[in-house]
Each structure stands twice: as structure tokens, then as C-alpha cells.
């Protein structure tokens, strides 16, 4: 069973003559341990698709299932989306979006705290993740005192905190230089394999596609093609 299943999803903004179709008949899936890319230029619909998968935007039609739970089927199914997000999805943002008044460790513990994990347990888990991400020595540093690469690792740690089956990363390398961007992608690949999460990365950077298991290429709101193991299918 795929961790993420998107079937014939359509999203239309506005109505009548002003209606704009942002997504049309999108079908894709991501398996556990798989690193998947949503690739496309600006305006291709990848951000809209990410919002739909993030359970922020309701698709006009189609079906989305996360970890076996049907969230949308031609409309909302009444699932508590915040809880579903908390428990099943980890987010890595374009600009990291760490909470600036918290330390590296606290930023990771926050995700656990929101999920009701006791404080001591959350702190221990945060430290373990920082060690796993090789920045354990920066645990008590405030976000502002971390380098871009370190911030990215903390953001990844936060996404991993609740061991979600699905991790969504929005342009995770856009604020990093090429070298650090490559390292971040290597880390995401490692996470997908070791943590058995489905990692979906939204990117417009064609240079990154080699590292993905599958690449879904979008254009004008439609799925253009799928690249598997860096080979065109």
C-alpha cells in the first residue's frame, strides 16, 4: 500500500468565466522508503499539488489517501486534518522556517510536544535526531546562530521527529549553495532508506533529478511524464 496516493486530482480556482484550472487529472503515488520529486517550472502547479497533499487546500475533485486514510474524495471526508498532519506528515520548508526564539533542540522537540509527547521524552528524541544529523554539538544554539546547512538539518530533524510515514519538502535546497544542496539531498535519500519514509521533494532544479527514485514532471497543471531511477519511462 502506498504511503501517498493521489488519484485524478483536479483543482480549480474561482468559478464561471474566471475559473482557472491549476491541476488537471493528477495521479501519482509514493511508497515507503521512496524519494520522489515533483519537478516543474514556476506555474506548473507543483505548489498547488503540494498544498493539496499537505491538507491545506481542498481539491475540487479526485481522491487523496495518506497512510491508508482517505482525506479527500471529491471533497473533504471530515478527517481532522491538523491531527493527520501532526501524526503523518513531516515538513521541510524552502526557508527552513524554524522558530527563531527556540534552540535547535527545542525546534525539534516542538513537533513532538505538539503531538503530546512528554517533555523529557521529546528532549531525548530531539537530541538523538541531532546526533543522527551530525549536529548534536549545536543542540543548545539558537536558530540565528546556526549556519544555513545546520538550519536545514534542524528542519529535517523536526520533520523526522514524529517518525511520519510521509515527508514533504518544499524546495529544500533553494537557500543552500550547490555543495550544501547536494549534501541535503544525500541526507534526504538516506532518511528515506533508513527511516522508511516516503519523501516527496518539490523542486524546479533539473540538476537534482538524478538522485530521486521517481520524478513526476508537471507542466501547466498536468502530469507531463514520470522519470524512474533517473531514466525516462
Amino acid at each position: 500500500m502506498p504511503v501517498l496516493s493521489v488519484e485524478r486530482v483536479k483543482k480549480v480556482y474561482g468559478s464561471g468565466e474566471l475559473a482557472v484550472t491549476a491541476l488537471e487529472d493528477i495521479t501519482l503515488s509514493a511508497e515507503s522508503g521512496e524519494l520522489v520529486a515533483l519537478l516543474g517550472p514556476s506555474g506548473s502547479g507543483k505548489s498547488t499539488l503540494l498544498l493539496c497533499i499537505s491538507l491545506i487546500l481542498e481539491p475540487t475533485a479526485g481522491r487523496i489517501t495518506i497512510n491508508g486514510i482517505e482525506v479527500y474524495r471529491d471533497g473533504a471526508t471530515g478527517i481532522d486534518v491538523r491531527r493527520l498532519r501532526r501524526e503523518n506528515i513531516g515538513f521541510i520548508f524552502q526557508g527552513q522556517n524554524l522558530i527563531p526564539f527556540l534552540t535547535a533542540q527545542e525546534n525539534i522537540a516542538l513537533a513532538l510536544d505538539l503531538n503530546g509527547v512528554p517533555k523529557r521524552q521529546a528532549s531525548r528524541r530531539a537530541c538523538e535526531l541531532l546526533d543522527y544529523l551530525e549536529i548534536g554539538h549545536r543542540a543548545n544554539a539558537l536558530v540565528a546562530n546556526l549556519s544555513g546547512g545546520e538550519q536545514q538539518r534542524v528542519a529535517i530533524g523536526r520533520a523526522l521527529a514524529n517518525e511520519p510515514p510521509l515527508i514533504l519538502a518544499d524546495e529544500p535546497t533553494s537557500s543552500l549553495d550547490t555543495d550544501r544542496g547536494m549534501k541535503a539531498m544525500t541526507l534526504l535519500r538516506r532518511i528515506a532508506k533508513e527511516k522508511r519514509s516516503a519523501v516527496i521533494v518539490v523542486t524546479h532544479d533539473e540538476r537534482m533529478i538524478e538522485g530521486f527514485d521517481r520524478v513526476f514532471r508537471l507542466k501547466d497543471g498536468r502530469l507531463l511524464d514520470v522519470v524512474m531511477n533517473a531514466q525516462r519511462s
Partner: protein
């Protein structure tokens, strides 16, 4: 995880400056509370500490504090003869501005029958009461006089024989007690040149009326203003007597007005103090509203500054309560800290202000509750803004 406190720690300087600013406003609110209560306390001090059962004044006058009342000195004898009256004493009170203890001071002179009459100083902290008919004075410490110091009032010198503490008139000015006749003398006695001018004026009036020079010289002293008037008669009743009945008797048979202490307090609160209390009340309310508006704006700005963090929290699945708590807690931390600082400041400065400042714990508590509720209201705008923030704001650059 207490996000609000962690944010406060991160922006400690900004919060500290804001707390100091808001606390200054709240200090003014508390000081105004103190002045308000101080005015009431001062206004009622003389009434409460005179311990008369009835205040008898000129007919249809709200005297002796709200309105000028003139009563002939010997009227107290007629009052003493009223059934139910145990004791009655003449009483005089007026404000003066004189040079005392090296500075020009505004104070109130109280004249009373020093030989067992009513209306004398309630409690003397140093020295003794007046025991001689003339030239002795009991003053409040606030005048800055020392025992045995000699004060010139009018044409005579008066020796300070006793000191009181907290004896003030309705304006918070200190009291100085004299014997009745000394007080009348200070009030009415003129120097020689004034006497000559007044006598010349009386002679001219008599001569214009057609009297001879000899007759005018004989009659002129009779035209001078009387100096044996008082302002009120203080009455102590026989225990168990109906005060209203005695007052009614005095009003009907002696053609005077008589007030119980409760009526005198009402006259003071509704007359002299009402407008001042209304103005102080208005300013207090305005300052509280301004403080709450400032807190609301500060909390709103602080929320806007972390709106992306709030969007991130929402995207991470934070419940609305986590967001509400973050904002509400900061608003309340700001409000409570500013209030505590204001309270400490008001307590610190209250004794150094020229006016009596009475900080009543109950009123301070009510003010705190109002400000606390204001702090909650102040956070509503920011909470509304935060809850409307879409989690999608966290995505994208």
C-alpha cells in the same frame, strides 16, 4: 513547551522597555486612585475626627465646609438648652496663607473652646493640648513646626504647644488649632491703619446721614463689623437621644440648620468632592483605556513579527489553543509585569507627593482585575489575526 515565555526571553530587552512604558501609565492610574481616595479621606477627616453628634450652622446653609456659615458666638448657649443636648461648643474654621516655618503655606485654622469644648485636636502626638486662653497653638506636623516654636499670625505671636499627625482639611492642607478667641482675632483683627480707614469710612457714612460730629464719633464703633461670630456650633447629645428629633427641634425653634455627621459627609462628598472625583474618575478611565490600547497594539505588533512562525506552527498541526496561548500569555505577562512595577512605583512615591495618597488594597485589586481583563481584551485582535493566518504562509520563500 511554553512558547510565550521562550519568545519573551528571546526578546527580553524589547519586552522590558515595553513593560516599563506601560507601567508608567499604570503608575499614573494608581496614583490617581490614591489621590481620589486621599481626597475622600482628607475631605472627611475633620468631620470624622471632630466627633460631634450634630453640626449646627446658619439657617439654610450647607456649612461650615461647603458654604460660608455665620453664627453668633452666644448661640451655642441656646443650643445647649435644647432637650437632649449634653454639650454644645462654638466652632470656627477658615483657610489662611501665611509664612510659617520659613515658607508661605496654605493651612486651615480651627478655633474651639479650649476649656473642655468640642472640636479640638483628636490626637496629639507630641506636646500637649492648648490649656491657656491665648497665644498657644497646636499644629499638624505637615506645617513643619517644632514644639515651642513661635509663629506670628496677624498681630500676635503663638507658641506651638502640641503637634498632631494627619490632621488635614478637605483640601489636604494641615490644620492649626487655636483658642476660639485667638482664631477670631487672627481672622478679624486689623492693623492700626486699617482700623483708622474703617473708622473714617464709618464717620463719613454717619455724617452723610445727618448726624453731628459728636454723635458720629460716639456711634462709629457700633458700625464696625462684629468679630464674635463663629461658623458652627458642635453638639454632643445625651446618649440614646434621637438625633433627628433634636436636629428638628433646633431647626424649628432656633431658626438654624442642623446636620448629623452622615449628612455632613454627604454634603462633603456630593458638594466639594463630587466634581473633583468625577474628573479624577474620568482621567483614570481614560488612562486605563489608553493603557489597554497600547498593550493591544504592542501585542499585535509582536504577533505580526512572528506570523510566519505561527503559520509554521499551524502547518505542523498545532491546535488553535497553542496559538491562542502564545499570544494571550504574552499579553498577560506584559500586563501583570507592568502592573506590578506600577504598583511598586506608586508605593515608592506615595509619601513624597504633596497630596495625600491613599492606596487602598481593595481598589488596587479591582484596578488589577480591570487591567488583567483589559490584557485579555487587548490580545483579541492579535489572536483573531493569528487564527486567520493560513498555514500555507509557511510554505514558499
Amino acid at each position: 513547551m511554553d512558547l510565550a515565555i521562550k519568545d519573551v526571553r528571546h526578546h527580553l530587552g524589547k519586552f522590558a522597555v515595553t513593560i516599563v512604558g506601560v507601567s508608567l501609565l499604570l503608575t499614573i492610574v494608581l496614583i490617581m486612585n490614591g489621590i481620589y481616595q486621599g481626597n475622600i479621606s482628607d475631605g472627611l477627616w475633620l468631620i470624622d475626627n471632630t466627633r460631634a453628634d450634630l453640626w449646627v450652622v446658619e439657617r439654610n446653609r450647607g456649612g461650615p465646609f461647603n458654604e460660608q456659615s455665620r453664627v453668633a458666638e452666644d448661640v451655642y448657649r441656646s443650643v445647649a438648652a435644647v432637650p437632649g443636648v449634653a454639650q454644645s461648643s462654638p466652632f470656627i474654621t477658615y483657610n489662611v496663607e501665611r509664612e510659617v516655618a520659613g515658607t508661605s503655606q496654605h493651612f486651615t485654622i480651627i478655633g474651639y473652646d479650649v476649656f473642655g469644648g468640642l472640636g479640638g485636636p483628636a490626637r496629639i502626638v507630641t506636646g500637649r493640648p492648648i490649656t491657656r486662653a491665648h497665644y498657644e497653638l497646636v499644629a499638624d506636623e505637615k506645617l513643619g513646626l517644632r514644639l515651642a516654636e513661635v509663629v506670628r499670625l496677624g498681630v500676635h505671636d503663638y507658641e506651638v504647644v502640641g503637634l498632631t499627625r494627619g490632621a488635614v482639611d478637605f483640601g489636604g492642607n494641615p490644620l492649626a488649632y487655636l483658642s476660639l478667641h485667638d482664631a477670631q482675632e487672627v481672622l478679624f483683627q486689623q492693623d492700626n491703619r486699617a482700623l483708622q480707614a474703617s473708622r473714617a469710612a464709618a464717620l463719613r457714612r454717619l455724617e452723610r446721614a445727618g448726624t453731628t460730629s459728636e454723635e458720629a464719633a460716639r456711634l462709629a464703633p457700633l458700625l464696625s463689623a462684629p468679630t464674635d461670630t463663629t461658623n458652627a456650633v458642635l453638639v454632643r447629645l445625651v446618649p440614646g437621644v434621637d438625633r433627628r428629633a433634636v436636629a428638628q427641634h433646633i431647626e424649628e425653634w432656633l431658626y438654624l440648620s442642623a446636620f448629623t455627621p452622615e449628612q455632613q459627609r454627604d454634603l462633603m462628598l456630593k458638594g466639594r468632592l463630587q466634581r473633583m472625583m468625577a474628573i479624577l474618575g474620568l482621567f483614570r478611565s481614560l488612562l486605563v483605556v489608553v493603557s489597554i490600547i497600547i498593550i493591544a497594539l504592542i501585542v499585535y505588533v509582536l504577533t505580526i513579527e512572528k506570523i510566519k512562525s505561527i503559520a509554521t506552527l499551524k502547518l505542523l498541526g498545532a491546535t488553535n489553543w497553542v496559538i491562542v496561548r502564545l499570544i494571550l500569555e504574552q499579553s498577560l505577562v506584559l500586563t501583570v509585569a507592568a502592573f506590578l512595577l506600577a504598583w511598586a512605583s506608586a508605593e515608592l512615591v506615595k509619601d513624597s507627593l504633596p497630596r495625600s495618597l491613599l492606596l487602598l488594597p481593595a481598589e488596587t485589586l479591582v484596578t488589577f482585575l480591570v487591567i488583567f481583563a483589559g490584557g485579555i481584551v487587548a490580545s483579541l485582535m492579535a489572536i483573531w489575526r493569528a487564527l486567520r493566518t493560513p498555514p500555507s504562509l509557511a510554505l514558499g520563500g
